[in-house]
Symmetry: C2
Subunit: 410 residues, 2 copies
């Protein structure tokens, strides 16, 4: 198989895989308080009204609103205070015309009342009488039954990533367990005769395996379970055996191959030998990371990453994370936050190629600047020293100094 037989722009490359991927999402139940970051595997519907009773939103008095109509400082309405409804209690009092009952924020109203007068709009006349100096409309300062959520409402869609407020929202409805997608196991195979484990002292010509560790952390932050296996040398049969085991025991396979052409060629041949439909993309119009492979084997995504550590991390983040999300039924986030900054120097590129450039941020006279960090993509510290990265779009021949750029923060 020739190198780079099917080069696509990054977006098209991701799409070519996602378009034919039919994820088999296995659900599991988790306790709601432990569901942070998990992806819902079905629609969640409310069986309750929230709130379940009309609640006061103010400290004050529950009243019949008609009793306050026309009230003002000059002509207050006088009401008899006939009791209170303590927090967490059911009202024991029904009010009649001309009566009021002390109400607390979050508490119930007295039966017979339909609004709450804020304490700030009353004056105390004596122990049992108040003056109301502003009228209230029916329902004023009251949250009605079901005003937040009604029985039968969809409270969370399927494929939603659980945030802290969602946990609160579910707990509020008494939903203590939810069904979420199982975290996909992602097997990471590091190959290369030059690699040794981080525990080893590398000899001359050898280096420690960096990529499987960076990639594991990225898998974790995308909600997957990284499964790292031993380093495999540049041997076709050994690599194929490891890959088949990985495909058997997980939902996705990552090949982190060496940087040399021969090493990359072997990865491509191994992946192509695994099954159907096989390699979909071989090479992306992207720097750093042209030698990227995307494949699908019996509905399991396989990605061959470039060997250089910066390329591997950047390509993984761009190409593999949307796939790990898809395996959980999570669609790609529609919104993305960036930081606007001024580029400190010209960044030449090539039209028809998308570039990602590491940048260091600084602030000078209220202006945030993004300074490109140059360096070969096998220098991992170009990325360790970076605060984020800038993308040069595929249809631009570069970016200019002092141009406003959107920085994706790390």
């Amino acid at each position: 198989m020739p190198e780079f037989f099917n080069i696509l722009p990054p977006e098209a490359a991701i799409k070519s895989l996602l378009d034919i991927l039919e994820p088999q999402i296995e659900a599991e139940s988790v306790l709601t308080p432990e569901a942070l970051g998990r992806i819902t595997s079905s629609v969640i519907i409310s069986n309750e009204n929230l709130p379940a009773f009309p609640r006061s939103t103010m400290d004050g008095y529950s009243v019949r609103s008609t009793d306050t109509f026309g009230a003002s400082e000059g002509m207050p309405a006088y009401l008899d205070v006939v009791g209170e409804v303590p927090m967490g209690r059911v009202p024991k009092i029904t009010i009649s015309t001309g009566q009021a009952v002390t109400a607390y924020t979050g508490g119930m109203l007295a039966d017979g009342s339909d609004a709450v007068v804020m304490i700030e709009n009353t004056h105390t006349v004596n122990e049992t009488t108040i003056e109301v100096v502003r009228p209230v409309a029916p329902g004023e300062n009251v949250v009605q039954i079901g005003e937040d959520v009604q029985v039968g409402d969809v409270v969370l869609a399927s494929g939603h990533s659980i945030r802290p407020q969602d946990i609160g929202g579910l707990i509020a409805l008494g939903i203590e367990m939810i069904s979420v997608a199982q975290r996909p196991r992602v097997t990471i195979i590091s190959t290369g005769d030059e690699l040794v484990s981080p525990q080893s002292n590398p000899g001359q010509g050898q280096i420690r395996d960096i990529n499987s560790y960076t990639i594991s952390a990225l898998v974790e932050s995308a909600g997957g379970i990284p499964v790292r296996i031993d380093i495999v040398g540049d041997d076709f049969d050994q690599q194929r055996k490891a890959a088949l085991e990985g495909l058997n025991s997980g939902e996705m396979l990552i090949f982190s191959a060496g940087s040399s052409v021969s090493s990359r060629d072997m990865t491509a041949r191994v992946i192509e030998s695994l099954g159907k439909p096989g390699v979909l993309v071989h090479g992306i119009s992207f720097k750093p990371g042209k030698p990227t492979i995307m494949a699908l084997i019996d509905q399991k995504p396989v990605i061959g990453l470039p060997g250089n550590p910066v390329s591997a991390a950047v390509v993984f983040e761009m190409m593999a994370i949307p796939i790990i999300h898809a395996l959980q039924g999570h669609t790609r986030p529609r919104w993305k936050a960036t930081l606007q900054a001024l580029l400190t120097r010209d960044l030449p590129s090539q039209t028809g190629r998308q570039d990602t450039v590491q940048v260091k941020l600084d602030q000078q006279n209220n202006k945030i600047t993004a300074d490109p960090i140059f360096g070969n993509s096998n220098l991992i510290y170009t990325m360790v020293r970076a605060d984020g990265h800038v993308t040069i779009p595929i249809n631009r021949g570069g970016l200019y100094a002092n141009e406003e750029v959107m920085v994706t923060l790390y």
Copy 2:
């Protein structure tokens, strides 16, 4: 103690606590691959050069650069290929003038060579001879010893939050364990006679405790360890007992009190009774969340949150997360990513008060719009339905429809 005796703007309120907080950071050792999101507790220095040997950045031939000077398509330099240096191996060959040795990306160079000619700039003449058609400078296509990191370099500062690429960078240098700040234990006390646990079926007038669950998830995402204790009723002695236990067993205390004035007053009195210096801030010029308390008791931060669930979550994120970071020696992130959007309607506010408004995002004709979600701050689903929030600065009387706003995404 009167309500709101010391109202400060949110920024000043955080500062008033951080200025006198002297965090006692306890360090612990963790395996580097498990350190994602942890905060370094000391500077990390390299004991190695990276790379440890000159590495080729290209597939091609290691050569003496002087042999290629003046080479061109019209007048190529002819070199004898006298062997190769396989990946992960030490060169066994020393080259002389007129010789070349096959080199691989990431591999070593032959002894005696000082540059690598890319394979694309050569033609094969026969099995042992190549034509070089472009000259290389000394050091070209070679990463030198220590070009990424040198012995003695600071590779990570103290107080740095570990990212995936940092794990790779540390592993590259053989740093398998690092010293990080212990995760601070944050005790969360929910108080209020109206609260029942999520397992209960609330009666009329009662609600499930939401806030301690939302806050726990936020503590977790800020790197702390949430410690939730049983709901405590509106009883001074019980609350004080719970607070003292929390202060004893953790590094920070959160009071999530009811929303009524009496409930908040009790929280303030309990916090004031715990020790010195006591309450620093009582009330912030912020909506939703004016009744916020910030205190320091024997160098342990104590925060009294407003009772409404949206207020509690918003105030916690703004006020408490910087403190949880500080307890780990992590300074507030200097850079913040947001999404630019067009506000769909006027948002009135008050000068002298900062507002946070929940928004729903949408995209219409290439423009991203932010639509404010209105609703009382005790409606948690105003926040569940939101994609992010917009801040109305303290010195503005509001924001206008069609104004560009920066949305902080959830």
